[in-house]
Amino acid sequence: MTPKTDKRTDFEIELQRIDKDISELKDSVLTAPIDTEKATRFVYRFYQRASLTGNFAELEAAETAVNNAIRQGIGPAADLYLLKANLDFKFHRLADVRRDLEMGPGLADSFPGRALEADLDFQEGRYEDARKGYESVILDDRTWDNLARLAYLKAKMGDVAGAEQLYDEAEDELTAKEMRSYAWVELQRGVLDLTHGRHEDAWTHYNQADRAYSGYWLVDEHIAELLGAQGRFAEAVALYEKLIVRIPRPEFRQALGELYTLLGEPEQARRSHEAALAAYLQSATSGGVHYYHHLADFYADVREDGAEAVKWARKDIELRANFSTQAALAWASYRDRRFAEALEMINRALSSGVKDARLFFQAAMIHRSAGGNGESNQYLQMAAEINPHYSNFHVHR
């Protein structure tokens, strides 16, 4: 919340503060003797800036800065490896995350290291271990972000009341000095409502996030999805178009393409989809793995090209076998008419215990294709119970 006299958004103010800090700290990493604390902060600010803007090129630059700092022995290794682990996590390089946690002295046993370890468990499908990990670190370090981690797990496992309670507690930990974090938690609460068909409640949380931290593209992106889910396609398109000017991410272009399709504008849809696909492939070609999931999704649902979808879904599942990648491979196999494989994989995803309308819808379709009409109807009913609007526009998160 900015004072009324300041026309800048909270996002702009924070970005400028980080830029100022980076500029002031630059000398400390360029001039000998190097001030370790300042040098670490300098690298961290790079990471912060990249996270704030959501810009992949900046994240890659931050990664280079972190790697250089580690190589040159600037700053405490544990802190730098923690940064590196977080970057690797963002990029879905889970094996690297594990290696980073081992490389940083004492990092694996530290509170942030333990939280990341639990995140890894979650990503690698060890849900019970993840739950225990989160609960244990919360016991020792009751921070908003650890509470939010556990809330997310509970939400996925269908314990909506438990998730809401934890989000409540997470927000209670946050003070007026952490409005961006508060906005982020509000967004998660909004997503929880949206995925349960409670659109008005989602609006309340998204508006709250916007008031808490103005000018945040992440809020706009969630609002654009919600508009789409409510069938307000033109408004959603307008917001995505604005968003893409600020943050030209391919997944936004894919969402825009889907909205144009829904609006009955195939040419616009085609252009957006092609731009999205080109960027996904460019990332994969240059060694990036974080868009595998989107590629599988894109080929399955936009192109309906089962073989390509299976190819990318398999690559993704090699990195992290969890309900999400299993469902993606199942859906891709379904598109490729490999119904037996699809059935096996969707059953694996379902065995995770995750309760998700989209997952149940996919299970229904796959079971139907395999001749299991009874199960199919049951899954459709389960999907509708969670979210009556499960077939509406949604983005992949």
Binding site: T36, G54, P76, N86, F89, Y152, S181, S324
Partner: protein, 531 residues
């Protein structure tokens, strides 16, 4: 970006641990010398001058809680058992959580830097007013009491060799960059000590780098600096105190004033005793403690400008229900009652910021005191002084922690129960039969207990000119011993003649003897801020 939950997407990996307006520094409290119109008590709560001296953080709420009572009974002199001690804690608990209800002064500051001051649950009722900051003002209560007020920037009234203190407890963040991921590497597992330990290269004074650990301290030859934390082991394996070629020990303190030239923000009040209690003749002890609270994120959004009614009618009687609702919007961050109650005795753990309600810490207090005793006790003995701590004649400080109170208690029994002698009788301005205080009474509960029949010098309150850091160390002296024909007392370690004859370098009292700026002899007493 990623199909997973990622709170760190909002880049909260390293919390920015900046100096915060929530960081309370000191609570001073003493009877005013100005008795015109009746007795008054001066209370000053000081905290970090963020965003700057005289300008307040609008997300903060400060509370000063006050309760007046007759002098508290303590365990019988001859019953220094653990059982009696726990009974004493129970009595306090019953009192503070039961019938005793503190009055309170609540302060918030708005965007225009005007302070809203709420007086809550005083005998004359509750009321509120809006005042300008950085001005000496008088607030008139509905019952006709005049309360002097100053809310603004001042010189930091604390004078202390903070670097020396941190060296004495081997507090790494003062000397090293401690990685964020090594939260447990703060007080290193090295004996606490007043004298340098032979081979303790992690903390011993480095003559080639005299400003090491003095970062941000004015008056040094350089800005000071920290070192990188070495890979380890972060321990000490020696067996003696360090001595120079002349056989002198090296003091961990230098007497340098690390608060030199620094400003703070403060809430300073001079309150008639008759406003605090209906029975000023009976309630001679004014207990007070301060708290800082920060607005919760969810409530920041709801913040609306002060209602015009408040501005037009500054004197508004408060609705108690509304006030409780107000406090629920904030989160307690820090408390302050006794100096060093948190830093020295509670290891600065956030979850131990309990203020007056620190009874549950009583077992921890005993164990922590024993831990400190194993450090400071042998140091005192090495200097040829008598200590109140039972360290089995250990020739050197020992790093020892306790998990059981029953093991720690016999070591600290004397330290806990001994009366702390005053250097002379000047503290007892009334000449009444006022018992001396023991550390036990001073630190549990964590309140500044101002005795209105004394000058309010520590521990009968806390006056600005009190060198409390050194007085704190005196707890570990044996108050039954003599020095130059006089019983040990709270000011002994401030006595230059003691150090002149001690086998130690530098020959100085541990902390500076006076503030860097003269205090005022009139309200608001704290000196003008540095420009």
């Amino acid at each position: 970006m990623a199909d997973h939950n990622d709170p760190n997407a909002v880049n909260s990996i390293f919390s920015d641990i900046d100096v915060s307006a929530a960081d309370l520094y000191d609570l001073f409290g003493f009877p005013s010398d100005d008795t015109t119109g009746g007795e008054k008590v001066v209370i000053a709560l000081t905290f970090a001058s963020v965003p700057e001296a005289g300008v307040f953080d609008t997300d903060m709420l400060y509370r000063i809680q006050i309760s007046a009572e007759p002098r508290v009974a303590r365990p019988a002199k001859d019953d220094h058992s653990l059982k009696a001690l726990l009974r004493y804690f129970d009595t306090l608990k019953d009192k503070y959580l039961g019938p005793l209800k503190a009055s309170e002064i609540r302060v918030t500051v708005d965007q225009a830097n005007r302070a809203t001051v709420k007086f809550i649950d005083f005998p004359g009722g509750s009321f509120s007013t809006v005042v300008e900051t950085n001005k000496v003002l008088t607030i008139d209560s509905p019952g006709g009491h005049s309360i002097k007020t100053f809310i603004g920037g001042r010189d930091d009234a604390f004078f202390n060799d903070l670097t020396g203190f941190f060296r004495s407890i081997n507090y790494a963040p003062q000397f090293y960059y401690v990685p964020h991921t090594m939260a447990d590497s703060r007080e290193l597992k090295i004996p606490k000590t007043l004298l340098e330990l032979e081979g303790n290269d992690l903390f011993n004074f480095d003559p080639n780098n005299p400003d090491w650990g003095y970062q941000g301290v004015k008056g040094r030859s350089s800005d000071g600096f920290k070192k990188d934390l070495p890979p380890g082991p972060l321990t000490w394996t020696g067996d003696r105190f360090r001595k120079d070629g002349n056989g002198n020990y090296r003091f961990v303190y230098s007497g340098f004033d690390c608060q030199n030239g620094k400003n703070i923000n403060a809430i300073i009040l001079e309150i008639p005793l008759g406003f605090i209690t209906k029975s000023p003749g009976h309630d001679r002890i004014v207990n007070t403690w301060g708290e800082s609270w920060v607005l919760k994120a969810a409530n920041k959004i709801e913040t609306i400008p002060d209602h015009p009614f408040w501005l037009e009618h500054p004197m508004v009687l408060l609705d108690a229900i509304k006030l409780d609702a107000e406090l629920k919007k904030y989160k307690l961050v820090d408390t302050d009652g006794q100096p060093f109650a948190d830093a020295a005795l509670s290891e600065r753990e956030d979850n131990r910021q309990l203020g007056a309600n620190n009874f549950w810490l009583a077992p921890h207090f005993i164990k922590r005191l024993a831990h400190l005793g194993w450090g400071f006790g042998p140091s005192i003995s090495a200097l040829g002084l008598q200590t109140s701590f039972d360290h089995d004649n250990s020739p050197v400080s020992v790093h020892k922690t306790y998990s059981l109170v029953t093991e720690a208690f016999p070591r600290v029994k004397k330290t806990l129960f001994q009366e702390l002698n005053m250097p002379d009788d000047s503290w007892n301005k009334s000449g009444l039969n006022i018992p001396l205080r023991s550390p036990l009474e001073i630190f549990v509960p964590n309140v500044c207990a101002i005795d209105m029949d004394t000058t309010g010098t520590w521990p009968f309150g806390r006056r600005l000119e009190d060198q409390v850091a050194t007085r704190f160390l005196s707890m570990f002296l044996d108050m039954e011993a003599d020095f130059n024909g006089k019983k040990y007392h709270l000011e002994l370690l401030n006595d230059q003649s003691l150090w002149d004859h001690a086998p130690i370098e530098p020959k100085t009292p541990p902390n500076p003897l006076k503030n860097d700026k003269e205090f005022l002899d009139h309200f608001p007493y704290l000196a003008e801020p540095w420009s």
